[in-house]
């Protein structure tokens, strides 16, 4: 076992292969970008294919290859199941999949794993039944969990080499000019898919909305596309926007949001031209609303908002409170529609969003970010991947990327959820190192990372209850009791990569 700098033991074989986490920027250094094969098109050649089956035949997918997908359709995605079902039917085995993330809707993967069709997985996260199945140990090889910036880096550096990318394209012409913000399955930005289009050996666009040549709004251009397949449906619009945009009435979430907005506005970063990112979920969405009030009152404008975009950010853009939105993914229909109509709503790829090895990720320009947590410990390490029972059920997302890049990373989380404490001695799994986290905001008050003496000074007169993180942990334990440590088996079921590719933690099977 090799011990990394957040005190986690990494099995030797994986420690040698990946390296172990040391510090946030120590591996940010020059590198040679990965190369990929290009099959040029000649005049008169058609790219249009009749079926997924034909695309699998044409691209020559065989045992042992790596295929990829994007997760912009979220819980409404039809593409990954459609392609893997056909691959299974054709008797192809030992496939590695490298989707940008995996949702509940992809539970059919369990059978493909058990039948040997899928043998390797890298993803931002795993949910629900699939997460439970992986945690029970159904795979021989551990899943590699990568952040959104980490996936971009892995593709750029060649850690992931994609043989064939199957990319759902909501609006596409026969020669492969595509965007994500028009059509019945519109999802908005195609930011994660743009990586695959750039680096995969072969790119197959799967569309349910074939428009006459030439589709003039182009996110993925014809010059990067090998084939176009027309199918009946690529996604369910209801699933695409699922669960993201509710405005909370939960008093606990509202007080957390109010405190978080106060922390932002009391910080040295809240001034004309500042930048911020907020996520989805009740408290995080409500922060945007409280922040908006403060911006209007104090006449402060933001230069850009980054994300993970929801309608609450689009409203700020429309009101002129935010100068631009840089958008790698949309969580609801209005934000996707804004991308289509607003010249200052910009689609960016995952590398520009968050790659530590790009020549300039947006997270590097970020003043403040609001992030969530399943658990946070007294070292400020954050877990967003494993539940209180040790089962994988979350996603890394852009958590460690935005935390590392921003000047102030704020975690918003309730002190307890039911009987489960959020503030604990040691998180079950480290996804983001505590050195990247600056402030924890709970419903009882905040705790500032003691390393940030400047922020402690800045919040001296802030009218929000302030504690040490140990005091917050004690308050949580006083209510719910101290949880027993989870007993894991000895089989690694997931490796948690830090954004630079080193391992920050390993998840074992649940005994």
């Amino acid at each position: 076992m090799a011990l990394n700098k957040v005190g986690r033991e990494i099995p030797d074989t994986y420690a040698e292969q990946f390296g172990v986490f040391g510090s946030e920027f120590e591996n940010v250094k020059p590198f040679n970008a990965a190369v990929h094969t290009v099959n040029p098109s000649k005049p008169g050649e058609s790219k249009l294919l009749d079926s997924i089956h034909d695309a699998i035949v044409k691209t020559g997918i065989k045992d042992g290859m790596t295929i990829s997908f994007h997760h912009h359709f979220r819980e409404g995605d039809y593409v990954m199941n459609m392609v893997l079902d056909e691959i299974a039917r054709m008797g192809i085995k030992d496939i590695s999949i490298a989707p940008s993330s995996i949702a509940n809707v992809h539970a059919p993967l369990i059978d493909h794993i058990k039948n040997g069709v899928v043998t390797h997985i890298t993803s931002s996260g795993l949910r629900d039944k699939l997460g439970a199945a992986i945690s029970s140990g159904i795979m021989d090889e551990p899943v590699i969990i990568r952040s959104h910036g980490g996936r971009a880096r892995a593709i750029e550096r060649g850690d992931i080499h994609i043989d064939v990318a199957f990319l759902g394209a909501p609006c596409c012409d026969e020669y492969g000019n595509a965007n994500g913000f028009e059509g019945p399955s519109a999802c908005g930005s195609l930011g994660y898919a743009l990586m695959d289009a750039d680096y995969a050996d072969q790119v197959v666009l799967v569309t349910d909305n074939l428009v006459p040549y030439i589709n003039t709004k182009i996110s993925i251009p014809q010059s990067k596309v090998d084939y176009v397949v027309k199918v009946d449906a690529i996604g369910d619009p209801k699933g695409i926007a699922k669960g993201a945009t509710r405005f909370t009435k939960n008093p606990k979430e509202l007080i957390i949001a109010e405190y978080a907005a106060k922390v932002m506005m009391a910080s040295p970063y809240f001034k004309e031209g500042f930048s911020f990112q907020t996520g989805t979920g009740g408290a995080s969405l409500a922060v945007t609303r409280f922040l908006r009030e403060g911006m209007i009152e104090q006449g402060v404008h933001a230069s850009f908002a980054l994300g993970g975009i929801t309608n609450s950010m689009v409203e700020l853009l429309d009101e002129g409170l935010v100068g631009a939105i840089t958008d790698v993914q949309d969580f609801d229909t209005p934000s996707g529609a804004s991308l289509a109509r607003n010249a200052t709503h910009l689609e960016i790829d995952a590398s520009m969003y968050a790659s530590p090895l790009s020549k300039g990720a947006m997270v590097n320009r970020l003043d403040m970010v609001i992030l969530s947590a399943l658990e946070i410990d007294t070292d400020f390490n954050v877990n967003v991947i494993t539940g209180s029972d040790g089962v994988i059920r979350g996603a890394s997302g852009g958590h460690c990327d935005a935390a590392a890049g921003s000047k102030m990373a704020i975690i918003v989380a309730p002190l307890i959820r039911g009987r489960i404490p959020t503030v604990v001695d040691k998180v079950t799994t480290v996804v983001t190192p505590g050195s990247s986290i600056d402030v924890l905001v709970t419903e009882v008050g905040i705790a500032v990372n003691p390393a940030r003496t400047d922020l402690i000074e800045a919040f001296k007169d802030l009218k929000v209850p302030q504690f040490t993180i140990e005091e917050l942990r004690d308050r949580a334990y006083a209510i719910v009791g101290k949880p027993e440590p989870i007993k894991f088996g000895d089989k690694p079921v997931a490796l948690i990569e830090y954004r630079d590719g080193t391992l920050i933690d390993a998840v074992y099977n649940c005994a």
Binding site: R419, I486, K487
Partner: protein, 103 residues
């Protein structure tokens, strides 16, 4: 306390626990717990139920509990209520005695 009949207290709403008491005679105490927080707090919940039964002087009982993340105080309260109902003394709580356990 002497148990006369089967009785239930609590719900399966989140942060609650549904406790069913079955008189089985003899001096056994059997607890069947199904908890959404089994790994983190299962042992503690069993301990609270056992301790509460002991405080009430109850034996010859089979407890079936479905827990949805109830706090210790809730586990204790639902157990007490179920035992009193099983003893046909619903509402006749001995508050002085119960207070004494928590002192």
């Amino acid at each position: 306390m002497e148990l006369k009949q089967q009785a239930v207290a609590g719900t399966t709403e989140s942060s609650d626990i549904m406790v069913t008491i079955d008189p089985v005679g003899g001096d056994t105490v059997e607890i069947n717990l199904e908890s959404s927080v089994e790994k983190a707090f299962g042992a503690r919940i069993r301990e609270v139920i056992e301790q509460t039964l002991a405080n009430l002087g109850v034996t010859g009982v089979c407890v079936t509990a479905i827990d949805k993340g109830a706090l210790d105080c809730t586990v204790q309260a639902r157990t007490i209520a179920a035992v009193y109902r099983a003893a046909g003394k619903d509402g006749e709580f001995d508050w002085k005695e119960i207070d004494a356990w928590n002192a």
